[in-house]
């Protein structure tokens, strides 16, 4: 399966969003996740199944003025 993760086409075997976050080496507790431009709350990550062609954005709060 291929998804677009933060703008990059990425191969993944993760069935759900939580597994993708771990598979790709992200730290789950610092992440804000969006799939196909829709925010997915943390408690829904495991239930949220991924499909080929999904667009996933994994964001985090960073320094800014």
């Amino acid at each position: 399966m291929h998804i677009t993760l933060n703008g990059q086409v990425t191969a993944s075997a993760a069935p759900n969003l939580l597994d993708l976050i771990i598979e790709q080496g992200f730290t789950p507790d610092a992440i804000v996740a969006e799939v196909n431009f829709e925010l997915i709350k943390r408690d829904r990550w495991q239930q949220h199944l991924l499909q080929d062609g999904d667009t996933v954005e994994l964001l985090s709060f960073v320094g800014g003025g």
Partner: protein, 263 residues
């Protein structure tokens, strides 16, 4: 004494939230994030900005929110947005992520001077205020837009003093002064304040608060710089409340000139 008593009751209200400190700070550009908490303590700042970005797991970045003490409110910004829709998307994500209702709208299409797009900023303000956000729009100082932002439901207006990160101070002073005179919203001077004297100047002309990030974060000692800016903002505010006398063309003696020397 009167000034002190006034100052004791001198709260800043933003969207119904009370602040006793009038220096807003930012989390950008710190050499070490561990400096953020002591800077906040030294400056007294009660509201600090953060940004939302794509994560690079290889960069080993850590969530900036961990470095902000729970007593300090977080003001997410929409930096990176080039349209109202993008700003709205970032704002919704930030709130859903648990950052609260405050949002600093920043819509920028000009990469050289990083000047805000007032039209898109106004559109984003209209949308987000209706959704219950406490909207603080970063804007180019303009009296008409300031009024429109008020009508759109903004909680304050944040005119730039000079371009972001330029440390050039109040290049927009004349227009900011007119905004202060006419605005029904708190006026927070944001961007370009490079020295405590410039922060004090903004407060002396009647700004309700200032936001300082670069000047504090990029100094050799951000904790000391935070303290300096905190004191300057207090000094400027007290000077404003004290209603200083204006300038005069000629000298006016402070000591009696008549006396006994020449009979």
């Amino acid at each position: 004494m009167t000034e002190t008593m006034n100052a004791a009751d001198d709260a800043l209200l933003l969207g119904g939230v009370r602040f006793t400190n009038r220096l807003l700070t930012g989390t950008g550009k710190f050499a070490s994030r561990d400096l953020i908490a002591p800077m906040l303590a030294a400056s007294g700042s009660e509201l600090i900005t953060v940004a939302l970005r794509r994560v690079d797991p290889k960069a080993g970045e850590q969530d900036i929110l961990r470095y902000i003490p729970p007593s300090v409110r977080v003001l997410p910004n929409t930096s990176g947005a080039r349209t109202a829709e993008e700003a709205v998307r970032i704002a919704r994500l930030a709130r859903a992520a648990g950052c609260g209702d405050f949002i600093k709208i920043e819509v920028i299409t000009d990469n050289k001077y990083l000047l805000p797009d007032n039209a898109e900023t106004l559109r984003a303000t209209e949308i987000l205020a209706k959704e219950g956000f406490i909207v603080l729009p970063y804007m180019f100082p303009d009296l008409t837009v300031s009024r429109q932002l008020h009508d759109a439901g903004a909680a304050a207006v944040m005119p730039l003093g000079s371009p972001i990160g330029s440390n050039r101070g109040l290049e927009m002073k004349a227009m900011i002064r007119r905004m202060i005179e006419s605005s029904r919203l708190p006026v927070i001077v944001d961007a370009g304040i490079g020295k405590p004297s410039q922060a004090a100047e903004a407060m002396e002309i009647g700004a309700d608060a200032v936001l300082v990030n670069t000047a504090i974060a990029t100094s050799a000692d951000p904790v000391m710089a935070g303290k300096a800016f905190g004191l300057a903002v207090q000094a400027g505010r007290l000077a404003r409340l004290a209603q200083l006398a204006g300038e005069k063309e000629y000298a006016e003696a402070s000591s009696p000139l008549t006396g006994f020397l020449r009979g």
